[in-house]
Structures are given as structure tokens and as C-alpha cells.
Symmetry: C2
DNA sequence: CTGAAAGCGCTTACAG
DNA sequence: CTGAAAGCGCTTACAG
């Protein structure tokens, strides 16, 4: 059927071994043999069968990306999608192909998939269940976690400095003169949301402005709908509280809150300043555009693939935790009028 | 290293053949042998090596997704990302793993990747260069195109009924009483944008309202930035024209235009109604939320995988063109005040 | 510098 | 019902 090395060898009048050598560039080959073989390969557009290669080399040059999302799409997720994009770009540059798998329910099935496919390594994104992690550990594949949340500290992680990001957000709002802050904090079981809130609070506390518990509400998911619902539910309380600034632990929650403010004709930023976290693409599109803390997703994706490649090549990195730096992005939602 | 069938066979005291039979469920095996083997497999968490299986079965159970985007991220693309998500979901249900590849430059390299990996089939998304298609044709892999744009009519395509969608958009605006329409039409080389504009125009022409050429501007890319820039550039012309409705051939262009209107304090929908096309996730999030024509991306993804699977299994479908139905989604940006 | 042989981990006829 | 053998398409020592 498909062209094989045997066919190439026959046409070139050499052995399979020789063809293999010219393809890999390893071992000696006479210039004549080499030219002849290369010409035929070119002519017939022969591509070595990667499956066969993987069979003998015990390397597939594939990596797997496993994302856990309970109820939401994943690749089109405005934040995780960016990480996946960065992974794809870096992986392509390093000659890895990538399997993308998502998992809604019992995550073992999709993990199995990966194990059977014999990927060289695995990138876990977001909050994986511990049982999935334990399961993966049983096999020999190297793996690491991006923006994860786990108690398992044996695991290499690529994360954003979320606590510092929270501090930057607080510092920005504080610098604008705000003193009453209303916070929408996503699921605290997730490392990111927890640390963002913590950093935000700590920074303000250090300025002598502790955030009261009544000023913080907790959307049960980091989604637009939840941000919207929680802001609606607590709107009266919010208005009564004299808050001049809203901080949400991610952009989509912030967008949900802004939608409620728009409904109520509350002007942003004139009456209330709003900040999010992540810097998703939409943040620039709405009016007013959203001030946020940008997570360097490109760097995270790049580090993930680079580190995984090292793990695969047994060049074990020392660091268990790789952190990327967040950055304040000021836009209209916190602009001062002038 | 890794557990092999040989090891399982040894432990169970049977031959590799028998182990293979109990795993595949094909051929006869005595209940005793079966139980014993299954127990050991369970105990050791043995997973058959998919690479070896692919080697002999000549089937990888992998499919590849190849997306072309000149300068933009791809997986996080608000529209294509949704299609990819639908593909992932359907593929998982049919026991395919999926490689996702994007391609910025010369697209042959990433296509090569796929050919070497020996995917069982390929899904091409968006506008691929003809040379890539020609290249892919050279190999034996089945492939089809989703939301594509090609002159090549030998190719199986899954598309949205874009022309009809354009008509529906026109019908909606017409029904609201609008008579002066300003249109931002994305790259006309792309089938979707071309047909959406065409449908829109035809529908109105049939109502006796031809759209003059001066009422149509052409963003050079289907992006927010281009929508924004073009609306800005033509703003004076737009104001002078007495337009009461804006139609953009996709949502992100519409969002760009809306941003300009917001800047100029033009009220949507009170002064100007705005419609997009696609129904990206963000359409619901901004205020006013965007009225649009929803493309059934789930159905497209599902059809793509289902059809590709049939191609792979040689169950060749007759239809060259599979169309999915668009749907009008009315939101705030065209709401009538009441 | 080159070819024959063995082997990667499976599956699939084919004997028995 | 079961096992030995061949083979999928490569690569890698090993002789020559």
C-alpha cells in the first residue's frame, strides 16, 4: 500500500539499512548511495512511517494535553485556549505533535487513551482530580501540570504568580484612590483563585484596609454566568456598601459583574471601577475595556513544553515550581476621567 | 520496561496469542484462561501498546485536525475553537484521539507531520492553501474540510448555510423596520463571508432595497481590529448616510464596529441596530449583547468526525456537501424599545 | 562503506 | 480451544 523503506531500497538498488542511514544521517554512506536514495525519496515523496519508528525507538514524539473541565468547552475556553495555543506553537517548533484531550466525567478514560497511545509525556491543565493524577503516576510517562491545583507536591508545576498578581491589582486600585472594594472570588479550592484573593487582601491590609468578609462573594464557578448571578444577588448589598471598586479573580467573572452594572446603568469607571484577572481576548473588546492582570500564557505554554521535553529526555529539572510574572494592564474600566 | 503482552502471557501461563484473543474478544478462549488473563491484566494495569497495534492493524485510531490561520491563535479562536471542541467531543465518543495542528506559514510542514504520524484521517478547517490540499491528496489519507473555502470540488465539505444565514439576518432587520443598512463584509475570498453578504443582499433586493456598493466596506481580515479600524475610517460616511442598522459578516467584526459606536456615544440599539454572525461566546457577555446568526458548530464538528470515520472505514458517503442550518438569535443589540 | 539479521509489541492465519 | 510462526515498517548493532 503505502510506500515503505523496502520499496525505496529496491528502487535505489541498496539495502534497507542504507536507506535508513541516509534518512537518519547516522552512520556512513557513500555519496553516490546517498544521492541516489535521496533522489528517489524526493521523487516518490516517501515519508518514513512514524508508527514503525516509534515502535523501535520507543519514542513517539507525541505529547498529550489533558484538560479537565466539568461542564465547559475547553479548547475554546478564553483562558485555557490561550495556553493550549502556546503549547501547540512551542511543540511544533520542537517537533512534537500534540494530542488534545478533554475530560468531562470520569477522567480515567481519557487518561487511558493517552497511556495506550504511548505519548512521550503529558501536560495536565487546570484542576485535575487527585485520582487521575494517581492513576497517571502508575505509568511511566513523564508529566507536569500547568496552572494546576493539587496537594500533591511531587508534581512539577508551571504557574502564574497569582498572589503577586492579586497584590498588583490591589495596588492599582489603591493608587487610584479607591478605599471600598467589592470582591468576586472564584472557587477557592482552585489555587489561582485562592491566591489572587489572598494577594489582593494582603496588599490592602498592609495599607491598613482590611477587606471585610461581607465584601467578598464567592461565585461557585469561574464563569460569566456565575459572576453575573452573584453580582445580581448581592447587588443591593453592593449598592448599600458604598463600594467604588470591584475586583474579580478572573475576567469572565468580572464580565458577568459588569453586565449587571450595565443593566443597572451604573457607569464604569465613573461610578465604579472594575478589574479582572487573566487578560482574555475579550477584555479589549467590550466598552469599557477591562483593566486586568495579564497572565503570561505564552510563557506558560512554552515552559510547559520545554520542561516536559527535558523530563522526556531524562534531563531532570531541579525546580518543582516554575512561576511566570503577571502584569498589570490598564484599560478603560479603571480609567480616571480627565 | 513497560509491561508487554509477553509478560502477561508468562504470568498467566498461556501464550501471547491467547492473551491477544482475550483482549480483543475475537477467537475462542476457555473461560479459565480468560479469567486468569483478565485478572492479571487488571492487577498489573496492563494497557496494550497502541503503537504496536497500529503497526499491525494499519489503523492508528488517530485523526488530525489541521487549521490554517495566518496570524492568529487558533485553538482559542472564538469560532474555530468551538468547532475544535465539538470535534474533540465527538472523536472521544468514537474512540479516536485527535492531533491538533495549526499552521502559520508554509503549511506543508505540519501536513507532513500528520502524514508521518499516519493518522487515519484528516480534518481541514478554514481556508487552506490549494497547495496544501494538493499535497495532502498525494497521500492516501482520507480527509474532509470544515467551513472551508476551496475551488477544489472533489473535496467533501461540511459547511454552514451561510447564504441562508445572510438572508435571515436581512429578514430580521427588515422586519424591525430598518431600511438603511451598513455592511462590514469580511474577506470575500472566504466562502463564508462571501455567501453571508450575498444572502443578505439578495434578501433585501427581493424586498426592493438594493444595497449600494457605498454601503459596504471590506475589512481585510475577519478580526476585531479590522472591524474597529474600518468602522472608524468610514465613520463620517456612516453618519452622513443615515444608516440605522449595521450588519457584519461575523461577530468579531461586529464587535469592532460596536466599539467605535460606543466611543462615539452612538446608542445601540436605540440609534443603530447591530448584527453579527457566528454566535461566539462573547456575544452574550457584552452590553448590549449581540444579535447574531448562530452557526451550529456542534453539528459541524459532529458531522466532520462522523463523516471522516465513514471515509476511513471506506463507507464512502455520496454527498459532497453537508450543510448545517443557521439560526437567528435575537439579543439586545437589535432590541426594540418597549 | 554496506547488507543480513534480530527485534520493537502486537495480531492473524494456520496447525494441531 | 491454544501455541508457534510470520509479519507490520522501521532501526541498530554486527559482520564483512
Amino acid at each position: 500500500m503505502s510506500l515503505t523503506i523496502k520499496e525505496i531500497a529496491a528502487r535505489a538498488g541498496v539495502s534497507k539499512s542504507t536507506v535508513s542511514r541516509v534518512i537518519s544521517g547516522k552512520g556512513y554512506t557513500s555519496p553516490e548511495a546517498r544521492d541516489k536514495v535521496q533522489q528517489i525519496i524526493e521523487e516518490l515523496q516517501y515519508k518514513p512511517n512514524a508508527v514503525a519508528r516509534a515502535m523501535v525507538s520507543q519514542r513517539t514524539n507525541n505529547i498529550g494535553v489533558l484538560i479537565y473541565r466539568r461542564d465547559h468547552p475547553v479548547v475554546s475556553h478564553p483562558f485555557y485556549g490561550k495556553i493550549v495555543d502556546a503549547i501547540l506553537a512551542t511543540a511544533a517548533g520542537m517537533n512534537y505533535s500534540v494530542f488534545v484531550t478533554t475530560d468531562h466525567d470520569m477522567s480515567l478514560r481519557s487518561a487511558d487513551f493517552m497511556m495506550e497511545k504511548r505519548v512521550d509525556g503529558l501536560i495536565l491543565i487546570s484542576r485535575l482530580q487527585q485520582n487521575v493524577i494517581d492513576y497517571i503516576k502508575n505509568f511511566h510517562v513523564p508529566y507536569l501540570m500547568v496552572n494546576g491545583s493539587t496537594d500533591d507536591d511531587g508534581i512539577i508545576q508551571i504557574v502564574n504568580r497569582d498572589e503577586e498578581g492579586g497584590r498588583k491589582a490591589a495596588q492599582h486600585l489603591y493608587g487610584l484612590g479607591h478605599r471600598r472594594y467589592f470582591v468576586l472570588a472564584g472557587p477557592q479550592a482552585h489555587r489561582s483563585h485562592f491566591l489572587r484573593l489572598k494577594g489582593f487582601r494582603c496588599q490592602l491590609a498592609s495599607r491598613g484596609i482590611p477587606i471585610a468578609d461581607e465584601s467578598v462573594v464567592y461565585p461557585s464557578a469561574s464563569t460569566f454566568e456565575e459572576g453575573f448571578n452573584m453580582m445580581r444577588r448581592h447587588y443591593e448589598h453592593f449598592r448599600a456598601g458604598g463600594y467604588t471598586a470591584v475586583f474579580a479573580t478572573n475576567d469572565t467573572i468580572a464580565l458577568g459583574a459588569m453586565k449587571v452594572l450595565a443593566e443597572r446603568s451604573v457607569l464604569v469607571p465613573e461610578q465604579v471601577a472594575v478589574m479582572g484577572f487573566d487578560d482574555i481576548e475579550f477584555a479589549t473588546m467590550l466598552t469599557p475595556s477591562l483593566t486586568t492582570i495579564r497572565v503570561n500564557t505564552e510563557e506558560m505554554g512554552r515552559q510547559a513544553v520545554t520542561m516536559l521535553d527535558r523530563l522526556i529526555r531524562q534531563d531532570v529539572p531541579q525546580a518543582k515550581l516554575i512561576e511566570v510574572e503577571p502584569k498589570l494592564i490598564v484599560r478603560q474600566s479603571t480609567a480616571t476621567n480627565n
